[in-house]
């Protein structure tokens, strides 16, 4: 079965500290992987995506993620968080065919300690 697991429901980090949000997936082949960010009451903003090639992908706002096939993981990282990074973060996957639905994880809420 296809699924995305985000084991951390809520994480709090201090401003300026590094961040890693965990994501594990279950999929029969190599999926397309995404990280989205959502501020309260807002829509979904794509942070980064992995389709193929280099397993370390760079995204917007200083975020990066690393695809590890052996661990079925796609963890999101940022070296130094800012207060404006406080939001809900969703890891997601889809298959590589057209009209393939996106499957979202349950999200990790990030709070920033001043």
């Amino acid at each position: 079965a296809q699924s995305v697991t985000q084991p951390d429901i809520h994480i709090t980090v201090s401003e300026g500290a590094s961040l890693e949000l965990r994501c594990n997936y279950s999929y029969g082949a190599t999926p397309y992987l995404f990280w989205y960010v959502q501020s309260p009451g807002q829509g979904l903003q794509l942070l980064l995506k992995y389709f193929s090639g280099d397993t370390l992908v760079q995204g917007i706002k200083g975020f990066e993620a690393e695809f590890k096939r052996s661990q079925s993981s796609f963890n999101l990282r940022k070296p130094s968080v800012h207060w404006s990074d406080a939001a809900e973060y969703f890891c997601a996957l889809r298959g590589d065919s057209s009209a393939s639905k996106i499957i979202f994880g349950s999200g990790t809420r990030l709070s920033i300690r001043p």
């Binding site: 979904l44 590589d96 057209s98 009209a99 393939s100 639905k101 996106i102």
Partner: protein, 112 residues
Amino acid sequence: EPEVTQTPSHQVTQMGQEVILRCVPISNHLYFYWYRQILGQKVEFLVSFYNNEISEKSEIFDDQFSVERPDGSNFTLKIRSTKLEDSAMYFCASELARYEQYFGPGTRLTVT
């Protein structure tokens, strides 16, 4: 940069009423989707649409739901008789082909 738009941004309706949520996908895109997010929960797939027919639908997408692309630009989601549990944020998305899905800003539906 082209974007997906959705109207209205917020819709309040009474239980049992019909609602139509509207989306204008990016103009050259071929695949269209609806997702929903109940408050505090994850985003869930409802339906995908291509070549004027449904490609896939989830178990949530029952007979109360329908989609259509009436005029080649709009993509609509109709809920025939709304229930309290239909209250959610509804996102439209469009895709060119095997690439990224572009999401609209969402319509918040409140059923009272």
